[in-house]
């Protein structure tokens, strides 16, 4: 264990959340739960990024009163990355949801394993 675990408690939480999301995405057979897992995972990364951008005692990087000094603001880059990431996440979620709808209307179940079993039965 390194020296900064306690200092990085926010990142630690995000890491745990990431893994929870990851496992959900990997293991849940229910598609909706999978999507929730996906969102947890993405959010964990945003949390991580936000933590990384934070510098104690400084404000968001919106120029107030024309003060353009480094000492005043936090790092703007992670915030930008988070913004981009959110859009990606939204898109992907929408896509996953629509796939789920499609599968549900066809097979009347959200269980992916069941769907594949049905597929294999009808398929060959």
């Amino acid at each position: 264990m390194g020296p900064n675990l306690l200092a990085n408690y926010g990142e630690a939480v995000s890491a745990i959340l990431f893994c929870i999301g990851f496992t959900n995405l990997l293991l849940q057979t229910n598609l909706i739960k999978k999507i929730i897992g996906l969102n947890i995972m993405d959010s964990a990364i945003y949390l991580f990024l936000a933590e990384k951008g934070y510098i104690a005692g400084r404000v968001a990087p919106i120029v107030v009163n024309g003060v353009t000094s480094t000492e005043a603001y936090i790092n703007p880059i992670p915030s930008g990355l988070v913004l981009t990431g959110i859009v990606v996440s939204v898109s992907v979620t929408a896509l996953m949801l629509s796939l789920t709808i499609r599968l549900y209307t066809r097979y009347h179940t959200l269980d992916l394993d069941e769907i594949s079993t049905q597929l294999k039965k009808e398929g060959r």
Partner: protein, 497 residues
């Protein structure tokens, strides 16, 4: 700055913009636009390649008004331009070869959406090839993923949708890991541009700082990309996705999409982490082992398969194993072999997919081997093309597969510890390849006594036949005059550093 230096930017923007434009166009027009864009981009890349070969210097191109650490950049070297050109060729041929199937498998009203996706896919591939910025890469990886998913499920049967879901899940896992690794990397270096990260990384390594996070970050990125490119244990989505989507999609997916990720991985290895630093980690051993396992298990699954398309899909798993084995050797030669195999496999696999569709078409659309008996006589061109592709896969001299095998083996010999393992697995894998490909070839060349299937003549499929011939020629060119290509790859890799 030479005007030609704008070409990478033009290619990306052109394909991106054409995607938007296509959304307003009817299917026919969208098709034309799509073709024109691919050809144009191809020509641009070719010119760029020639230009780069003549100058011998890579260049960076600001995306905006700000230079390296602040603004986005793209970068073009020989390898990038060559890849772009090659991707265009393959994509054009795949689209042309599978065009006639699109009408049967996709609702007419959604054709233009299909072309949009292809354009966007091309755009994302080009961006992945040219980008010099990690975060840009991430964004375009996502475009790539989503559009690939769209390509899979454009043919809406249950299987493809299920496959698309599985594909998305695996891809998202991969993206998540990639992004997480990226974030850690950013935290360690404070940069997002590849060249800057590399400087910082080498500094960190030299100072011995942050060793564990560095390695973990690299590992996360690698695993993410491996998952996305369907390396062996993560290939569950692949057979259905490749096997049931419409044929152009299958060809493009297998030969380009996964290759795009792999190319990104190469860029990360060379341009972000540094080849030597990467090789000093244990990651290459892991890649090596999984590559070998992929070679074997992919082939074994392919042998057990009873469906020609799925068989070819499983063969992709094996071939991706080859590529990762090349990475795993951790030498320049191995890398060259891997890149050559990217080319050779792309050329061969799309040929196989497109030839397979010709064969299934003359067998009442059935893809089971028993129905394919004698299909090569009913569709001679497809039969010949399938045979050529198979021979290439098996590694018969004259075809590209032989050269990549040769390069792999030569590379393997130079790596003391991994030589035997890789050579033996190469041998076994060739045997397995021979088994399932040659089984199919013999099957399609076995005539049936009373045929209830109708044949197809050359007149009815001129375009298709031409595409097949082009593919074969491409394959043979790669197989016979491989030296220039290999030189180019070496030159390109040198430019990476």
């Amino acid at each position: 700055m030479n005007f030609i230096c704008n070409f990478p930017f033009f290619s990306i923007l052109l394909s991106l913009f054409s995607g938007t434009v296509c959304s307003m166009l009817p299917a026919k027009a969208a098709k034309v636009v799509n073709r024109v864009v691919i050809i144009t981009v191809g020509i641009l890349s070719a010119i760029l390649l020639l230009y780069l070969l003549s100058t011998g210097e890579p260049f960076v191109y600001w995306m905006g008004h700000f230079p390296a650490p602040w603004g986005n950049e793209i970068r073009a070297g020989v390898l990038e331009a060559g890849m772009a050109l090659f991707f265009c060729i393959i994509m054009y041929l795949s689209m042309a070869g599978g065009a006639h199937k699109l009408y049967g498998e996709v609702v007419e009203s959604k054709h233009n959406l299909y072309y949009i996706l292809v354009n966007l896919l091309l755009c994302s591939l080009l961006a992945l090839v040219y980008t010099n910025d990690m975060f840009t890469a991430y964004v375009f990886v996502e475009i790539n993923t989503i559009s690939a998913c769209g390509l899979i499920m454009i043919r809406q049967v249950g299987r493809t949708i299920e496959a698309a879901v599985r594909y998305m899940i695996m891809s998202l896992l991969g993206s998540g890991l990639l992004l997480f690794g990226l974030c850690i990397m950013y935290d360690l270096t404070g940069h997002l541009l590849m060249s800057n990260i590399k400087e910082s990384v080498s500094l960190l390594v030299a100072n011995g700082e942050y060793q564990i996070p560095l390695i973990v970050s690299v590992a996360l990125m690698c695993v993410g990309l491996c998952i996305k490119s369907a390396l062996f244990p993560f290939h569950a989505w692949l057979p259905d996705a490749y096997g049931y989507s419409t044929v152009s999609s299958a060809a493009i997916l297998s030969s380009l999409v996964s290759k795009g990720y792999i190319f990104l991985l190469i860029k990360i290895i060379y341009r972000v982490i540094g080849f030597d630093i990467f090789n000093s980690t244990r990651i290459i051993d892991v890649l090596f082992v999984f590559g070998l396992m992929g070679m074997i298990f992919g082939s074994i699954s392919a042998i057990r398969e009873n469906d020609i398309r799925r068989m070819i899909a499983f063969s992709s798993v094996a071939q991706i194993g080859y590529i990762y084995m090349g990475f795993g050797m951790g030498t320049q030669a191995g890398m060259v072999a891997s890149i050559f195999h990217i080319l050779s496999h792309a050329a061969t696999k799309s040929l196989l997919f497109i030839a397979a569709i010709g064969l299934t078409d003359v067998s009442n659309g059935s893809r089971k081997f028993i129905d394919l008996t004698g299909a090569a006589y009913r569709n001679k061109w497809a039969g010949a093309a399938f045979m050529a592709g198979s021979l290439s896969m098996v590694g018969v001299p004259l075809f590209s597969g032989f050269i990549s095998k040769l390069l792999f083996s030569q590379a393997a010999v130079q790596v003391e510890g991994k030589m035997l393992a890789s050579l033996i697995v190469l041998g076994i894998s060739t045997v397995l390849n021979a088994i399932y490909f040659m089984k199919t070839v013999i099957r399609i060349y076995t005539p049936v006594k009373e045929s209830s299937y109708s044949g197809i003549t050359f007149r009815e499929m001129k375009g298709y036949a031409v595409v097949l011939v082009c593919f074969i020629v491409l394959n043979v060119i790669l197989g016979v005059s491989s030296q220039p290509v290999v030189n180019m790859i070496e030159q390109g890799l040198a430019m990476f550093a």
